[in-house]
């Protein structure tokens, strides 16, 4: 004979079993990622013959939805060169610490130190490379890059100094023009674009897109004359529009610059690929993260349509 107690007990068994099986249908769990406090992020690119600039921000938790990185405005930022130090002032407009009294000089070592309240001194040191002049830029004519596209065939020639060196080669097109508007006023505008460079030597190809340029080391021409052969994405030398310019830039860069661009470029390129292995971006900042990198630029300009004659 069933009693109320028996029914209640059976109901309890059924309820417990039901709860277990219902909970077993849920197969996802939210994972917490520990985050004690943000790190200080120091970014600075010192280029010969420019004013030094340093930007300081805080890192954010990976799950933080806020995409803005507010600058740290109250830090004390100091640059030291050959034992001489000077402070950089915070500039509201650029959100960076700058000095308009000093220019960056190639061939010297720079030490940056930032004092941020609540943190150990954030620092890094880096040698600004010397300028490597472009010895020659040879136009080898127009070439078929593939079945449909043609590009200009160039060789950029320079002498690689002794030791380990790294270079960034880039090119961009620039043309200023004007027209008369409906009021009879002259309106000036410019057409500008980055030119994609495709190296002939596959050793110089990257696994990622780097703003159209090339980033290379000197393993293949260490201490000798280097000739970097490449095609441009598009034809510029036989352009029918007058007045355009193509600027080729050879930037002698530090190893940190090379490592940062290589690793950041790869991380960015793989963004969204669920099958890609993770990429750690290079950082050379003590007691923080970010990058302190240096470069020295040489450039050469050619006029578009110059091969039309």
């Amino acid at each position: 004979m069933y009693t109320i107690l028996t029914y209640r007990r059976n109901f309890l068994y059924v309820f417990i079993l039901g709860a277990i099986f219902m909970s077993s249908c849920e197969t996802t769990v939210d994972i917490d990622i520990p985050f004690e406090k943000p790190q200080v992020v120091l970014n600075s690119t010192l280029t010969h013959n420019t004013f030094p600039k340093v930007r300081l921000t805080y890192s954010r938790h990976i799950l933080d939805n806020d995409w803005e990185f507010e600058p740290i405005t109250t830090a004390e930022v100091k640059l030291t060169i050959e034992g001489q130090s000077y402070f950089l002032e915070y500039n509201e407009d650029s959100g960076q610490y700058v000095s308009l009294d000093h220019m960056v000089e190639g061939g010297k070592e720079y030490i940056v130190e930032a004092v941020v309240e609540g943190y150990s001194v954030v620092s890094a040191s880096e040698f600004v490379p010397v300028q490597v002049p472009i010895k020659d830029l040879v136009y080898n004519g127009q070439a078929h890059v593939d079945a449909w596209l043609t590009g200009d065939d160039f060789s950029l020639i320079f002498d690689d100094p002794e030791g380990e060196n790294f270079y960034e080669i880039s090119a961009y097109y620039y043309r200023m023009d004007h027209y008369i508007d409906q009021n009879g006023d002259e309106v000036y505008y410019y057409d500008s674009r980055t030119i994609y460079l495709e190296p002939k030597n596959p050793s110089y190809e990257s696994d990622f897109y780097l703003n159209g340029g090339l980033i290379i080391d000197d393993k293949l021409f260490d201490g000798k004359e280097a000739s970097i052969d490449f095609f441009t994405g598009g034809n510029y030398m036989e352009m029918e529009v007058d007045g355009g310019e193509v600027h080729f830039v050879l930037k002698n860069i530090s190893k940190s610059y090379y490592d940062f661009q290589s690793t950041y470029g790869l991380q960015d390129w793989n963004d969204g690929d669920p099958f890609a292995q993770p990429v750690q971006v290079y950082s050379n900042i003590e007691n923080g993260i970010g990058i302190f990198m240096t470069g020295n630029v040489s450039s050469i300009k050619v006029e578009t349509g110059s091969d039309q004659q």
Binding site: I20, F21, S23, S24, C25, E26, T27, T28, V29, D30, I31, I33, P34, F35, P38, Q39, V41, N43, S44, T45, R55, T57, S59, R60, H61, I62, L63, D64, N65, W67, F69, S170, Y172, Y190, S192, T194, D207, F208, N211, F260, T263, Y264, L266, Q267, D268, W269, N270, D273, P274, F275, A276, Q277, P278, V279, Q280, V281, Y282, I289, G290, I291
Partner: protein, 389 residues
Amino acid sequence: MFIRYFSGIRDWAGRADFEFIPNPDHYFRFGTNVIFHKFSPGVYASKSSTGDNDLQLGADELNSTEYSVYAEDDFNISNRLKANLGLHYSGFTTDNQHYNSLQPRISARYLVNESTSIKASYVTMAQFIHLLTNAGLGLPTDLWVPATANIGPQKAMQVALGGVKNFNGFEFSAEAYYKTMDGLIEYKDGATYLNLDEDWQDKVAVGEGVSYGIELLLQKKVGKISGWVGYTLSNTERRFDEINFGEWFPYKYDRRHDVSIALTHDWKDNKDFSLVWVYGTGNAVSLPTQRYEGAEVDTRFGGSWRPDIEYYESRNNFRNRAYHRLDLSFSWWKTKKWGERKWTLGIYNVYNRMNPFFMDIGYDQQSNKKVKQYSLFPIIPSFSYGFKF
């Protein structure tokens, strides 16, 4: 049309083992073993619904032959001291490349008294098949790949020291080990399965590893309750010039703590109850923990922008949740005229632990970023019937 990624190995194997006991103080064992492998590592296959557009991409199939010859002698040096001296020779032919390896092995056991012994060993090993693990958050798509003309075999050396003590029906053993490994492989940063132009060999770096730890085991072999409790404390790390900026990092399957308990209670003559509980530190995976602003990129036309960078402290910087699970089973049997029949009632994962299978970063319904862990097997009851005659 669908696309699938698969990796497979087919083996055809043969072996012969011999034993020879010339006198009570020597026990020789020797033999040989041959395996023909057919590897299909990392192959994409696409198939259209009409079946007229089938395509296979990725690595080519690879045939390899692995063989080994071994000889060892278990011999008594004295009443208390016993040693094992062995030599293994193994070879591997693949891709017009031949690898071979001679591996000396020695172990010894000393009987301190009737209930206590100590043991030590030195072993060298070679392995011609690599486990290539995925370091990211996604599905655990590990591949077994062979040594090739470009990627050599992995080699290891291990020394161990331990002891065994018997008391009151229990046996307690402890062993400490230290192992070094060379020729290990790991995916390089940024390597992706979606890059069909590259073979898996171009996506890996070769490096070294180290593993050390201590294993404790308490066993009870007699009585109504029998079973064992085991605990291992270990550390396994790897180092590659091209990964993690050349620094050591934890191996994906580094299990700092590993506990296992297996008990059987012979309840009655025809009934028993068993319990298994396992615990292991979670796998090490690479997970970005912070985001930060990158260096300013100049567009050369007066403008600039600052990229967003994901920060990984190191390769395999994050630990999955620990794996643990309790399984229970109850069996009862009855002897019949024709034999014996047995019923078993079991419950797998009794407390419905959500053990990690893989993780993913996504967004919830309120557009908040979340890290989600996915599990495979919840609580599963089972019931079985068996008989023997």
